[in-house]
């Protein structure tokens, strides 16, 4: 039983990181109908920003992490929206999807060429010592990852639900035309979601890279996990993405332990297919009907 709990907790820790990336997926979709297939690379890249800050500018780790978040928000948030999304979205959703796939390849190959094709060590944010909670031995690092990820999620939920800007963002997501009539600065709200998405991706990157090691190819798995989490949880609800991320993390770990590591990557995909067939709105998403 203790093994089972440890697997669930390890799954929650990884799942919380998937959730950060999945929230970004849903935020961008809700506010601007952007499906970002470079999301995995958005999670891969900030770790390299931090490593570059330490290597080339001699920054201490904490300063490198802050720099990485700022650079990610600017490049993967603002520049991404202005240079890629704004011009392409006018041409429809499909050209934008193809553009984000191309961007993902560019970022992946860029990280390989400009930094290294080899995995790089990435420091833990928390010390990797064991602590005992309710009779279960857990790693402090794992607990720390969960605390940070959940704190970010709670803060985001508070921001979206309790602040004026957050409510304006929600209004923009629900109906941009009405929001505009009511005086909501829709364009600015959309920009905010891109900045938040980049910030969340940077947080996910700093939390996952000590486990995965920083490597140019990390985005492949992370992007898929976040996408599956967003679909399973409900693409149109932030809380759905959170639930989806946690579920994918737990299912992934339990599959590795009780099914086989060979099939572990297939299990979340099976979950995805089952949800699309039997509950297309996702775990916590709302049903949407198309107007004819």
């Amino acid at each position: 039983m203790s093994d089972f709990f440890q697997l669930v907790i390890a799954g929650l820790a990884t799942g919380a990181i998937y959730a950060l990336a999945a929230i970004g997926f849903t935020l961008l979709w809700q506010t601007s109908q952007t499906i970002n297939f470079a999301q995995g690379e958005f999670v891969m890249l900030p770790a390299f920003f931090a490593l570059a800050a330490m290597k080339f500018f001699g920054f201490p780790f904490w300063a490198a992490c802050l720099t990485s978040i700022v650079v990610a928000v600017l490049l993967l948030g603002m520049v991404f929206k202005v240079v890629v999304v704004d011009p392409m979205l006018k041409q429809g959703v499909l050209p934008l999807v193809i553009s984000t796939i191309a961007l993902g390849i560019l970022l992946k190959e860029g990280a390989k060429d400009f930094y290294s094709a080899e995995a790089q060590p990435f420091p833990y944010i928390f010390p990797d010592v064991m602590v005992e909670l309710a009779g279960i031995r857990l790693s402090l690092s794992q607990v720390g990852v969960m605390v940070i990820a959940f704190a970010v999620i709670v803060a985001l939920q508070w921001f979206l639900g309790r602040t004026r800007t957050g409510r304006q963002m929600q209004a923009t997501a629900q109906n941009p035309t009405v929001a505009r009539i009511l005086g909501v600065p829709v364009e600015r709200m959309i920009m905010y979601t891109f900045l938040i998405n980049a910030g969340l991706a940077a947080m996910a990157s700093l939390l996952i890279s000590p486990i995965y090691l920083a490597k140019f190819s990390n985005g492949e798995h992370l992007g898929l996990a976040a996408f599956v989490a967003a679909i399973v949880g409900g693409f149109n609800q932030v809380r759905g993405a959170i639930a989806g991320g946690l579920l994918v993390g737990i299912v992934d770990n339990l599959a590795a332990a009780y099914v086989s590591t060979g099939y572990r990557q297939a299990v979340p995909l099976v979950l995805l297919v089952l949800f699309i067939l039997f509950r297309p709105q996702g775990l916590l998403g709302r049903k949407e009907e198309r107007a004819v």
Binding site: D3, Q6, L7, A10, G11, A13, T14, K112, A117, E118, A119, Q120, P121, Y124, D128, M130, R137, S139, S141, Q142, P210, I211, Y212, L213, K215, S217, N218, H221, D252, N253, L254, A256, A257, S260, T261, G262, R264, Q265
Partner: protein, 380 residues
Amino acid sequence: MLNSKLAGALVAAGLLASPVAFAQNTIVLPNIIELSGGGATVGTNWKNGVEMAIAEVNAAGGILGKKVEAMVVDTQTNPGVARAAIQKALDDKPLVIFGPIYSGSVKATMQLTADAEVAQIMGGEAGDLTAQGSKYIFRTSFGQNVSMPKLANYLRDGEKAKSVAVVYVNNDFGKGGRDAIIKELGSRNIKVAADVSTEAGQADFAADVIKLKSANADAIFIYLNEEESARFLREAKKQGLNKPMIGETTLLGQKVIDLAGDAANGVKGHVGLTVDAPIPAVQAFGKKFEEKYKYKPDHNGMKGYIAVFMVKAAAEKAGKLDAKAIAAALHGLTITPDKTPGILMEGTWDETGEIDRISFLAEVKDGKQVITQTLPKLKQ
């Protein structure tokens, strides 16, 4: 007149563009290795070792008076890409083929080199590579058939283990190692408490470490590629897995130590090639490599370096630059550092292409690999 001049120019241009024409004055060694994908660390080390050896060989007059040059191709750690690259390289009738390093890619390509009668000097360690009857496959490091008995002896005599949990990577390299160690453990009456398969390129080892902890074995035998070894060790430390962790060169290599940091401390095992070996020529190689590339090489750097000197020694024994003659010369050849200093340690290649030389037991202490014992050649 104009047409004949144009035709002449086109023929000359065509000849210049052909690697075969280029090879008339220079020996081109196709170096088909893993430079991206899961094997990037391995391939980069090998490539740098080859480059360094070629510079030294050229500075000393080349091979039988001809300069040497490597033609590097990235397999992307993909056996299909490796096969296509080797097929293409063989079209130019090379003297030898270097690589690949991953056993799966070697397995996918070795029939091509056998059919073309060109020696394939590779980095694979799967036990069955040299057991398939090819006269053209040559190792640069021990196969699992040589290293696993030494490891099983260490688990029995050094660790006094009665039960061992095995974790391996589910590819040709890992499965070969897993099968070999389980056979060797069985013959020594050591129980296999857990048999955990992991995937190549796996990033998260949390579930695997939890399974190994619950197996409660006397020791853990780890047989993964370098990056995965590092991720595993970091996860094992994070979860407080405090059993002796034993493995082969891919667990104790410098790259693993660099990536795993403190988590690598205490890991023990058998290493065939290491720049920490108590041999002055090997340590000098390590220093030269580190000065040039700004990092400490792992065993793959040594394998690449040695490969070039294998060709040099074989060509000198054959007395001619002929692919078939070089392959024949390598069989039964003992290369000694007094005649070929670049070989670093005396090595003998048998009729199957298997290598015999001294090896080492090692332990990682304070982020450094420390040699604890030198094991002799199997056949003195």
